[in-house]
């Protein structure tokens, strides 16, 4: 248990180190709680044993009274966080599985984004909601959604999606510091993934900025979460075939960094969106629509690699693997455009 806390503690601030995505989350929480005593972590079983996904290791010991286990009542404890946030605290709420976000539907759709507005701007609502989504874990139909686009049509919210350890660290810190409510999605299939993280202020992500994780000239791949990881792998494979793919980790769905995507597609003329969600109603469709409305000159029509529109996520391991977009599927979609 303590090894992870130590691992993140040993890191020299400001330096780039390799952390797992899990350690990156832990480091972000540690660093924000260290710097700002108004920051709290709350949620179900967030304290004991480092939390269900072991992202919170060492925090309850290090910040006594600031890591709060809640009863099972997602809607209410997000509301509680709102009340805290408008009275001087900066709560970070953990929603264990993104599939439990709808349980808190009212708090997320009607309260968090609207609270400031309805008051005529009298207050701000600096609440961060972390939630852990995504497939590959064999958790079945009710525990495997990314949920990333469920709330993207809600002005008043900001929405971040972490595709790498650097994103997990930088986005979470940015979310906590933001004056507005931020939903931040982590992917449970990425916790063990290692990658470089700049610890400290320099590593904090800019709000609303996508990240070009690999430059390329032939085709743009836009992705989030686990698909960001797989898109990088797909770009490797494509490189071997002589195709130069630019990989963008979108990082924010609201604000949506359409400018970065547009600039890339203006260069490549080709686009694949790689998304662990059905296409309909999601960010992938939004990206393609906005580029099209903006009059982009498609070299060939864009493609989406998505979850099937006519299926739900099954438990059966081979079927789960069959429906979640694979590295190969992403690479093939990109190749097909050339």
């Amino acid at each position: 248990m303590s090894t992870q806390a130590e691992a993140t503690e040993r890191t020299v601030p400001g330096a780039t180190t390799d952390l797992t995505y899990r350690e990156a989350v832990n480091a972000a929480l540690q660093d924000e709680m260290e710097q700002d005593e108004r920051v709290l972590l709350m949620g179900e079983d967030v304290g004991a044993e480092g939390g269900v996904f072991k992202t919170n290791t060492g925090l309850i010991e290090r910040f006594p009274g600031r890591v709060l286990n809640t009863p099972i009542c997602e809607n209410t404890f997000i509301g509680v966080a709102i009340g805290m946030s408008v009275t001087g605290l900066r709560p970070v709420v953990e929603i264990m599985f993104s599939d439990f976000l709808p349980t808190a539907g009212d708090a997320i759709v009607e309260e968090l984004p609207k609270f400031r507005f309805m008051s005529g701007g009298q207050c701000s609502v600096p609440v961060t909601v972390r939630s852990i989504g995504g497939g590959t874990g064999r958790f079945g139909t009710q525990h495997s959604a990314t949920g990333e686009s469920w709330f993207m049509g809600l002005p008043g919210l900001k929405i971040a999606v972490a595709g790498t350890p650097a994103g997990a660290y930088g986005l979470l810190r940015a979310a906590i510091r933001d004056e507005d409510p931020v939903l931040i999605f982590e992917h449970k299939g990425l916790y063990g993934r290692k990658g470089p993280v700049v610890r400290g202020e320099a590593g904090i992500a800019a709000v609303g900025k996508a990240s070009i994780d690999r430059e390329g000239t032939d085709v743009t791949i836009v992705s989030t979460l686990l698909m960001a990881d797989r898109s990088l792998a797909a770009a490797e494979a494509l490189a071997e075939q002589g195709v130069s793919a630019e990989v963008i980790d979108l990082r924010w769905l609201r604000p949506l960094d359409i400018d970065t995507v547009r600039a890339s597609v203006e260069k490549t003329g080709r686009l694949v969106v790689a998304e662990e969600q059905v296409h309909r109603g999601g960010w992938g469709a939004t990206v393609i629509s906005e580029l099209t409305m903006g009059g982009i000159d498609w070299t060939s029509p864009p493609r989406a690699v998505s979850l099937p529109d006519h299926l739900l996520i099954p438990y059966s391991p081979s079927l789960e693997d069959a429906i979640i977009p694979s590295t190969d599927a992403i690479a093939e979609a990109a190749s097909a455009l050339l």
Partner: protein, 315 residues
Amino acid sequence: MTTNEERLAWYRRMVEIRLFEEKVQELFMEGLVEGTTHLCQGQEAVSVGAIAALRADDYLTITYRGHGHALARGVSMEACFAELMGRATGCCGGVGGSMHFTDVSRGLLGAFAIIGAGLPVAVGAAVSAKLQGTDRVALTFMGDGGTNIGTFHEALNMASVWKAPVVFIVENNLYGEYSPLRETTAVDDIAERAKANGLPGSIVDGQDIDAVRDAVGEAVGRARRGEGPSLLEMKTYRFRGHSRTDPAKYRPEGELEAWKLRDPITLLGATLELSDDDQAALRDEIQQLVDDTADRAKSAPTPTLEEIEAYVYAS
């Protein structure tokens, strides 16, 4: 304990609320207020009495039936009228309307149009006060019908477990929209529901402002001393329909008339030994104030889209 001067101020405030809401109806007819309103006529002793027990730095959350509570908390009547007319000078800049009277400077953190949504916010404010080492207290108002929604129990349970300095006020006016309590609610006394969540619950005569003030004072004191949350059920009645369009035909005959005999304004007036003339004079004076204030409020501009854009995001 309470001086007669204070009690006279309560009386004034209750009359203000009553006449404010009468005026709202008028403004509706004139097309100056649109949408919907939920009047609290008949329930004024609850808001005025309960809020009288708060300190200026305490917190509260209210509901769409919140005109009385906002005025009781001292929100400017002009800002309230302006809000109802969608003016930039409204207490929510004109974007909230009748259901969202808010004044954070007075600790009035929000008014909620979704049943139950204000309770967690009050619990959060209370926990926050406690964590920050102050002795502030939070008060939250809700209706009887609203105690059937899960958030109610969730909020009570969390308040209990975290020993939050919060007082839950249930205004039991016997109806949720068109439905009598009995048809939707498995208990006759909402106070029963407190025990299921480990907190004390008691029943108060919501038409008797002294009883309200005393009960809330005690509960607030308890919370302030760190002894935890409590729930008070105020038995009361709304003299109007649920909302503007509801003629309230579902009420059994004579019910309204019986409750009007227990009009909280009359009841308090009687104990103040105000002569009929005194009462009439006061009413006239307040009517004048209400009319003048509404007129002033009318003259303000509506907000621009640029102005309200700043209300969406803080950064």
